[in-house]
Each structure stands twice: as structure tokens, then as C-alpha cells.
């Protein structure tokens, strides 16, 4: 492979990863940055979206496409998909509709996971809340590995190729579609933060007691925040599963909890734009480190697989010491004045 092809492949893959992480980080930022809920359990919603999408997608595909077969969609997964994928390849509109349906399912799964986690959680104080949610994050990997009908147990399961219609450009189409979804969610989140609803979330974050005195139902707002944040995380899980084409019940805490936290920390918590910047920086760095680290084998005095953890860990410490508010500060005023000095338009 010549160098330009390598750069293109690297970037296209990077864009897909960036899109998935952006959606997760927006979901995390709404909870932690905007509402002040330290959700260390976003893995619960991400894995929920990914595993439920993986578990249901092949089953739904054979029903919707009307395929008659005695094969089991999970245990005979590969054979079933050999019947499904040619149809998706031939019918782009059907494939895209399925893609959207799976995202909705992933989002709904994430939101439900969020609600389940939040039921005990919103009543707890910040530190206990964080511990509880952290524990929740691990539950689905245990279930996924032990209960084979979900994602086929430890070996995992393949998903219908909803991007098959793009043929030889599937790789590029995948990244493009993911980016479009991510940008749409970015715009939506930006809108939500600026509405009176978002303003109340920020008020609760800044001072819960005063918000209560001003008649706000704190539990309801926190639940809404967790639900919408988890909805986005679920969609991200779904995107990841569909893009990868296969899922095993091993979504790791480092990748899907620590990295998103690092991203919003670097970008600036509470700021939607900061989330975008932080995601871009960390996704790129992490991928560059992974790409180049094997050049350092034998030079660094430890196993090279630890290099990502080491460098990103150092980065976290430096950010916390030198710029704890992140790169992009929350912009004010969010609510623009519309009254006063109104000049009436001529005509």
C-alpha cells in the first residue's frame, strides 16, 4: 500500500470512530457537563444499544424481509446473514430504513438502560451516585457473555450489513453515514442546552437547593437528563455495532467510559462545542498512538500495549492541573436579550 492510500484509510476509519465517540460524549456531557450527574456508567447504555441492536437486528431482518428459514438467527448467524445481505445489497432504500430502525431500537434500549440505572441513582448524593453507576456499567458484559440468545455469548454475533448497497465504497459510506448522524445529534444537543429546559439543568448543576426552592422537581430533571444522555449513548452503541458488523460482549471500560470522560474533560465540560473539540483531539491522539506505538518496541522499558493508557493518563493529569475547565469554556450569555432598544423595521 502506498502512503496516500494508507492516509486515506486511516482518516476514513478515524472519522467513523470520531462520529461514534462524538455521540457518546454529547450524551455524557448532557449528564455530567450540563446537569452535574457524574455518570461513570455510560457503558451500560452504550453496551445496551450495541448488544440489543446486535441481538435483534438479524431476527428483525428475516421477519421484515420475509425470509423463510429454519436456521437460528443467533447460533446459525453467519448462514442466516448469507440470505439477508444479498437482499440489502440490492435494495438500498430498504437497507437504509433498516439502519434507521436499528438506530431507533439502539436509542430506545439506551434510554431504558438509563432509566433503569437512574431509578436508584438520582436519589443518591454525587459520590455514591458515581460508584453505583460505575457498577451498572459492568452488568451487561456479564449478561452478554452468559446469556447466549442476546449476542451469542463470548464468540459474539454478526449484524446484517445495512451498508451493503454501497458495494466497493462501503467503507467510505459507513464513515459518511455515521458522521451525518453524529452531526445531526450535535445540532440537536446544542439546541437542547440552550432551551429553558437546558437552562434549568444547568441551574440544578450550579445549585440544587436553590433550584428546589424555586419549585424545580430535581428528580424529574435528573431523570430526563440521564434518559436523553443514555438515548444518545444507546444510538452510539448501535452505530458502533452496525459499523463494525460484529459485536462481542466485551465492550471495555477503558474505551467506553474512561476515554469519553477524558474527551469531555479536555474539551470543556458543559460546552457542546468543547465536546466536539475534545472528541476530535483524543480520538485522533489515541489512534495515532495505536498506529505508531509498535515503532517503539524495545525502546520503551515496558510492554508497548500500555502506551495508550500511559500517555492518555499523563494527559488527563496535565489537563486537570493546568486547565481544569477544559479548552472551550461554557459560553455566556446563552439566553440572548430580545427586549429593549428594539428598532422598528421600516416598511
Amino acid at each position: 500500500m502506498d502512503i496516500s492510500t494508507q492516509i486515506i484509510l486511516f482518516s476514513v476509519d478515524l472519522f467513523a470512530l470520531f462520529a461514534v465517540y462524538l455521540v457518546i460524549d454529547i450524551g455524557l456531557n448532557i449528564q455530567q457537563g450540563v446537569t452535574g450527574i457524574p455518570n461513570f456508567g455510560i457503558l451500560f447504555a452504550v453496551a445496551g444499544g450495541a448488544y440489543i441492536t446486535a441481538g435483534l437486528s438479524t431476527r428483525l431482518a428475516i421477519i421484515i424481509l420475509g425470509i423463510q428459514t429454519n436456521l437460528n438467527p443467533i447460533s446459525d448467524n453467519v448462514s442466516v446473514l448469507q440470505l439477508v445481505n444479498p437482499i440489502l445489497h440490492a435494495q438500498p432504500i430498504l437497507a437504509v430504513s433498516l439502519f434507521v430502525l436499528f438506530l431507533v431500537i439502539g436509542g430506545a434500549a439506551g434510554a431504558i438502560m438509563g432509566l433503569i440505572a437512574s431509578a436508584p441513582a438520582v436519589r443518591l448524593r454525587e459520590d455514591y451516585l458515581a460508584i453505583t453507576l460505575l457498577a451498572f456499567g459492568e452488568i451487561l458484559n456479564v449478561i452478554g457473555a452468559g446469556y447466549t440468545p442476546l449476542v451469542g455469548g463470548p464468540p459474539g454475533v454478526d449484524l446484517p450489513d445495512v451498508l451493503a448497497w454501497a458495494g466497493q465504497y462501503r467503507f467510505y459510506a459507513g464513515s459518511l453515514v455515521l458522521l451525518i448522524v453524529a452531526i445531526a445529534i450535535y445540532v440537536l444537543a446544542g439546541h437542547i442546552i440552550k432551551t429553558p429546559f437546558g437552562r434549568t439543568l444547568r441551574a440544578i448543576r450550579d445549585n440544587e437547593i436553590v433550584a428546589r426552592a424555586l419549585g424545580k422537581n430535581i428528580t424529574r430533571y435528573r431523570t430526563s437528563s440521564i434518559m436523553i444522555g443514555s438515548l444518545f449513548c444507546g444510538i452510539a452503541g448501535s452505530l458502533w455495532a452496525l459499523y463494525s458488523g460484529a459485536i462481542t460482549p466485551t465492550l471495555a471500560r477503558f474505551d467506553w467510559t474512561f476515554l469519553p470522560w477524558l474527551m469531555i474533560l479536555i474539551g470543556g465540560m458543559g460546552s457542546n462545542r468543547g465536546t466536539l473539540v475534545g472528541t476530535a483531539i483524543v480520538v485522533t491522539l489515541n489512534k495515532l498512538i495505536t498506529y505508531f506505538k509498535y515503532a517503539f518496541v524495545g525502546i520503551v522499558p515496558f510492554n508497548i500495549i500500555w502506551l495508550n493508557y500511559l500517555l492518555l493518563g499523563v494527559m488527563t493529569i496535565l489537563i486537570l492541573i493546568y486547565r481544569p475547565e477544559g479548552i472551550v469554556r461554557e459560553t455566556l450569555p446563552t439566553t440572548k436579550r430580545t427586549t429593549g432598544n428594539n428598532v422598528s423595521k421600516p416598511g
Binding site: 441551574a203 450550579d206 436553590v210 419549585g215 436523553i228 455566556l332 436579550r337 429593549g340
Partner: protein
Amino acid sequence: MGNLQVKGVKKAFGNLRALDGTTLNVDEKTVTILIGPNGSGKTTLLNVITGFLKPDEGKVLFDQSDITGRSPQEIYEIGIARTFQIPAMFSKLTTLENLLVAAKNHPGESLTKSLVKRLWAKYEKDTIEKASKILDLLGMSEQLDKPASLLSGGQMKLVEIGRALMSDANLYLLDEPVSGVNPTLAHEIFGRILNLREQYGITFLIIEHRLDIALKYVDYVNAMVSGKLIAAGHPKDVINDPRVIEAYLGA
């Protein structure tokens, strides 16, 4: 509207009896001040009335209906607004936004409705107009777009009052509204309180230590010591009451 009756309220924290059978009456459309030495239970009483603390015994009546033990949210809906002794800002929100949050029943505060701007744009515009007027009244127009964390202590006090005024409540409970505010402004604030009472028939119960300023403006004074009301009546009578002098004025 705005009549408040506290009947034999008791509240203990372990062995400490913060409220020991407190009874207090605030007539509607009056400005009543509550005085007492530090630790006499004034703020605890405010917390009990506004639902932040549940009383061990006793009753709180607002316009003859029992509101004992209701949640802070319900109390606010009923029409009682409060401020805090130590100014507590939504620090990353602007001064204006601090007031906007206090708006009652804002349709844009519901997650689903917030997605469609058309459903709340009008209400938001009216709320901004109202908040701007209140800030104008408090002499805070210059600080409208400033983050609340950058305000001075006195200005924060004013935002506290402004936020409460957004509620259109019938009864306001103000916890030391002019402590840390310069004398000129303090007089102005009490002047405005009287105006609001005249214009809208609002009732005020105010905790305040700065009697030199407050006494001129208030209708009634209630004095508390060790969780009990020891005197209530017109300012002159209460201030000259020997028990009050002994406990509070320390003459």
C-alpha cells in the same frame, strides 16, 4: 392572600431544640420582621415553612390551608417564595438567566416541548421582559449579561430578591436581604418592598439584624429566643420589651 400561621412548631436536631413550640402569625399585606440572636431558630423556621425541613410537631397554615411538610416545590407552587441568607447563585448562568430559571410553569422547561421553539418562544420573551423589569427595579440592568459568579456580595443579594420576585408569590420570606448591602441601597430595597406591598398586596416576612434600617419600614416585629417567640407587635412595643432587650439588644 398571604396570611401565614405557625402553630406550636417543634424541630430538634439531636439534643438541640432549634424550634421549641414556635407560634407566629403574619397578617396578609403586612411587612413583618423576625429578630432574635444568632442560633435562636429563625432560619430553621424558614426552612420548616418552605418544606426544606419537616417539623417534629406543630402546624403551618397558609391562607387557612395546612401546608405542613409539603415539598419545597409544592410550597413554591402555592405562592410562597424565599431567599437564602448566604447568597446562592447559579454561578455559571448570567444574572438574567438566574431570574429566568425562577419562572413558574415555563412550557420550555419540559423536555419534549423544549424541542419545538414555537411552543415556548412567546412565554420566554415575556419572561425575559419581566425579568429585565425586575432587574431594572433593583438597579441591576448593567449586570444583566454578567455571569452571576462575578457579581459582588450585595449584588448577589439583589439577584436573590429578584429571583423570588419572578414567582408572583403572595408571601415572601427573605433571609437577611440587606446584610452586606450598603446603607443607601438597603434603604432603597426596603422602600421597594413597601412599594410592592402597596401595589400588589404582597406579604413579607423578613429576617434581619440591621434594625437601624429595617425598623422604619416594617409594620410588625416578632422576636425569637431559643426557638420560642417571646414578643410580637408594633416595632416600638417590641423593641422596648424588657425580655427582648435582655435577650437580643443586650442592653
